[in-house]
């Protein structure tokens, strides 16, 4: 489609344009030849632990219409999870007519509207392949062109072939787009290797960074409430038992649901995992305070007031009022 567009423009070009193109071409070629696309290095563990060939054939294909790769990719991953979402319905939900495209925050937010949590993945080819091996298709953002003339594009990675070093994508109008790892990685690197997987509440995919998992579930909680997010916070504390902030968040969800004892016990777990987590001590102290267990409260808030960090000041001033 865009080829036709180019052909039309080519007819309008004059000799001058052709000459400058020639000069530019020589220039670019000389630069590029010195650094051809190289094979992205995969970790040894990736070769050892992942199956050599994966293809998620049950991911449906929705060809992109016009500029609408955002709605199309979202429909593919949502449908794959059994969510009833059509491209036609997704277009007014995620497409921005003035930009002729869809932006990253809205891609994540739209999954949320369909009661799925979108988790941005770690930006490495190893982690992309690991998610595919774990049965999760990955929405990836690429710049198919060069940074100077960007061609931003969303596609769904559905498989790979390790010996042949190829990635398989549902991309644009192509149902099975095969790309070498090196070419894919060159286009993916231009978006800082951005991509995400979606999961229903109560599931946290393996390999998501603690911070990103927290942000994703917290955003889901802000939209759908503590009750809807509680299973995901529980899943997070199981998936990442050393992530004290996960316990902190779980405790807040319990508290919002009036499960005060669970909230307190979970906060104690958070402080056991990370005794330096001032904000957990502070909340624990506030809980004791609400329960009028003053001695406990003072002791705990005192702890928070001694730990440097953004909450130290608040803890210190609270201590003075006791």
């Amino acid at each position: 489609m865009y080829i036709r567009l180019l052909a039309k423009q080519m007819r309008h070009t004059d000799l001058n344009d052709a000459r400058s193109a020639g000069i530019l071409l020589c220039f670019i070629v000389s630069i590029l030849l010195s650094g051809c696309a190289s094979r992205p290095a995969l970790l040894e563990s990736t070769y050892q632990t992942l199956p050599s060939h994966v293809e998620l054939n049950d991911v449906p294909f929705h060809p992109q219409v016009k500029y609408q790769c955002g709605p199309a990719t979202l429909a593919m991953v949502l449908n794959h999870q059994g969510v009833d979402a059509s491209v036609e319905r997704l277009i007014p939900q995620v497409f921005i007519p003035g930009r002729d495209g869809s932006v990253q925050p809205e891609m994540l937010a739209t999954a949320r509207r369909y009661e799925r949590i979108a988790f941005p993945i770690r930006g490495t080819l190893d982690s992309l392949l690991t998610h595919l091996a774990g049965d999760d298709p990955v929405v990836v953002m690429q710049n198919l062109s060069l940074p100077a003339w960007p061609m931003w594009h969303y596609a769904v990675a559905i498989g790979y072939d390790l010996p042949n070093e190829t990635l398989i994508l549902r991309s644009g109008e192509i149902e099975r787009h095969m790309l070498s790892f090196s070419r894919f990685d060159a286009t993916w690197a231009r978006t800082e290797r951005w991509g995400f997987v979606i999961a229903p509440p109560g599931e946290v995919p393996a390999g998501i960074s603690p911070k990103r998992a927290m942000d994703a579930i917290s955003a889901y909680e802000a939209l759908h409430g503590a009750n809807a997010a509680l299973p995901s916070w529980k899943a997070l504390t199981q998936r990442q038992p050393n992530n004290a902030m996960g316990f902190f968040a779980l405790s807040n969800a319990y508290y919002a649901l009036n499960q005060v004892d669970d909230a307190r016990e979970t906060l104690i777990q958070a402080t056991n995992i990370d005794p330096e987590l001032g904000v957990a001590w502070l909340n624990l102290g506030l809980l004791y305070l609400a329960q009028e267990r003053l001695a406990k409260a003072e002791q705990t808030i005192n702890k928070a007031a001694q730990l440097p960090g953004p909450w130290q000041e608040r803890a210190a001033s609270l201590l003075k009022t006791l």
Binding site: M10, A21, R99, E106, L146, R183, N252
Partner: protein, 129 residues
């Protein structure tokens, strides 16, 4: 007109906040630190923060409308954004990459991209393979 509208909305929102009629998590009664606040490591006044968040959302809504998003859809779209996503979009929607998958290039660029495609650096023209 947009500025007037925004000012009007801000005043209204601030009044609403002051009245405390906003749906605030139960945590507010004991003053527990919310998860979102803790994630942003944000000890600034939560009230002030909330006003910023709401203004950012009003801003995003205006920008989306200006970019041709259907007025009937825009509210739900903004509501689905997290605070940090709303802030990010309020600040840089114009500059944000928007996945579209189509390019309108000049002849010179066409030639360059053809070469980079053949070199395996880009993936603009699938017919190069």
């Amino acid at each position: 007109m947009a500025t007037t509208l925004r000012r009007y909305i801000s005043v209204l929102l601030i009044a609403l906040l002051a009245l405390g009629s906003f749906p605030v998590a139960a945590a507010q009664t004991t003053g527990l630190v919310s998860t979102q606040a803790a994630l942003e490591a944000d000890s600034a006044s939560e009230e002030r923060e909330r006003i910023h968040d709401i203004l950012a959302r009003a801003d995003v809504q205006e920008q989306l409308l200006a970019q041709g998003v259907n007025p009937e859809e825009v509210k739900a779209r903004v509501a689905a954004l997290s605070d940090s996503e709303a802030k990010q979009m309020a600040q840089q929607l114009e500059a944000m990459p928007a996945g579209a998958g189509v390019i309108a290039a000049l002849f010179a660029v066409f030639v360059i991209l053809l070469v980079t495609d053949i070199l395996g650096l880009t993936d603009v023209y699938p017919f190069t393979r």
